[in-house]
């Protein structure tokens, strides 16, 4: 366990050395909320009360998704820059290696999401410690699920990075667009909503909104959403652990 934490700490130190990216991410978030979010809110607030809040949570969930995708990319970069064989030669189990990646992912997500979360809650006048903590837990679970999906898919990159990048772009577009990050499920047209229920972001976004006290009439059942988010996290992390253990090899050399 000590070695897993050492490995995770090493990755987190790399993360913390990239402060500029965090500042840019927060600035982009603020800009998006201030301009697009507030404009959209004025347009739709007659049907969805406090759409700015709804939008803000959706934007945070997208940030969580991007952070999870970052972990997958980080993993693939390890392989292609030659670090993966080194990490696989260290005295940690493959599961431990994956856990270190997950810790890195969680740190990445929390750093990117925490300031926007506090900002949004403060802006809408709903900032409480309890709300922030539960929202973080919800997004943390979602982040683990996304990380699991991305690491599970990373074996594609061992065949071709180009295919992996194209696959990731396509998957991101589908998972984000066909979800409730920006639109409540009840307002979606019938040809659109059945697809949305397959996106984990739908459940992560609605669960986070529910723990923050958003009107539950616009959301998926929170117990069902919590079960799906937890199930996706456990399922995809188990799958990725198996893939890392059984399938992925650090190098192919003759």
């Amino acid at each position: 366990m000590n070695r897993v934490l050492t490995l995770a700490a090493y990755n987190v130190r790399i993360l913390l050395s990239e402060r500029t990216w965090f500042v840019l991410a927060w600035a982009l978030f603020g800009l998006q909320i201030a301009v697009y979010g507030s404009l959209m809110s004025k347009l739709v607030s007659t049907t969805v009360p406090n759409y700015l809040f709804f939008y803000g949570v959706g934007l945070m969930v997208i940030t969580v998704f991007d952070s999870g995708a970052d972990v997958g990319r980080h993993f693939v970069e390890h392989a292609h820059e030659g670090e993966l064989p080194y990490f696989l030669s260290l005295p940690v189990s493959r599961g431990g290696f994956l856990a270190a990646q997950a810790i890195y992912g969680v740190a990445n997500t929390m750093i990117k999401v925490l300031p926007p979360l506090i900002g949004v809650l403060w802006f809408v006048g709903d900032l409480t410690v309890q709300g922030a903590v539960f929202a973080l837990i919800s997004m943390f679970l979602l982040g683990l699920g996304i990380t699991g999906i991305m690491v599970s898919m990373s074996f594609i990159a061992f065949k071709s990075v180009d295919i992996y990048s194209a696959f990731l772009a396509g998957l991101s577009a589908l998972i984000v667009r066909f979800s409730t990050v920006f639109y409540p499920l009840i307002f979606m047209p019938s040809f659109y909503s059945p697809i949305s229920v397959f996106s984990p972001l739908t459940y992560g976004a609605d669960l986070t909104r529910w723990v923050l006290g958003f009107d539950s009439n616009f959301l998926i059942n929170p117990i069902f959403a919590a079960a799906v988010v937890t199930g996706v996290a456990v399922g995809t992390l188990s799958l990725s652990a198996r893939i890392v253990d059984k399938v992925i090899e650090g190098v192919k050399a003759a």
Binding site: R3, S17, G82, E83, S89, V92, S93, G250, V251, A254
Partner: protein
Amino acid sequence: METLDLSKRYGKTDALRGLNFTVNEGEIMVILGPNGSGKTTLLMILCTILKPTSGTAKVVGIDVVEEGTKVREVMGIAFQEARGFWRHKPSSILRFHASMFDIDPAKRQDLIERTMKDLELWESRDKMFMHLSGGQAKRLETAKVLIQQPKLAIFDEPTSQVDLRGKRKIWDKIRELRDQGSTIIVATNEVREAEYLADRVTILHQGQRIVCDTIPKLKDAIAGGDIVEVDFEDPVSRKLVDDLNGLGGDVSLSSEGNQLRAKVSRAEDWVPKMTSASYIAGAKIASIRITEPSLDDVFLHFTGKALVDQP
């Protein structure tokens, strides 16, 4: 360390084919083979990065597939290509490595400093990895294993890209590591490296073990034993070659232009007879060189192919 019928297949390519291979405790085993012979694949399986297609491999009696983490606790590897942490400094890379292998924190800094000085890396300790030269990066790769002092140390072409002085330093440190009790495997296609380091040599060719023994025994296995190269002032005639073949003994002659090359069992017996016969035949000798067969010759003898492709 032993492998039993170890095979590794990539698609339709067999990188290792039923390899049986043993390394004794406390020895330096050099695996000699050209590029593509399966050296790196073997090492990657031993350090649990690759999984064998079939067969078994054990390190200190521990199965590399069943108990990979335990194997990794007792072994260290210096990769063929230095593995990059592009924006990290050599000193922090070594500190991380030392912490992963539970090197006593009280001794860690001294050990790292000493090793970096020994390998002439100390001046570069605060450079980014990406700014190191190829040779420095390779020495850093070696330094990781040296600070770790593992039971089994693996070096994959440890001195490629390293200058002559650096090579000697790395070789001496590898021998020192052996003297401190580590068992060592070195994969190389450099004959000089093999000759300097090996307690025993395994020749690997097309994924198979061709032969394994000490260097003197491998050289003795070649017909002859000594190589005599004679430069004449004029082209070597057919008649002279016939005369020298008639001198008797175990001799194999080849000539090209002014040069004659003979593999003989005892040069000290054959050379006086050869000089007399040349004098009688009127062939003037310009120079004589007597050498042992090299590992190149050994490789050629056992595989029928040169170790390094001739230009």
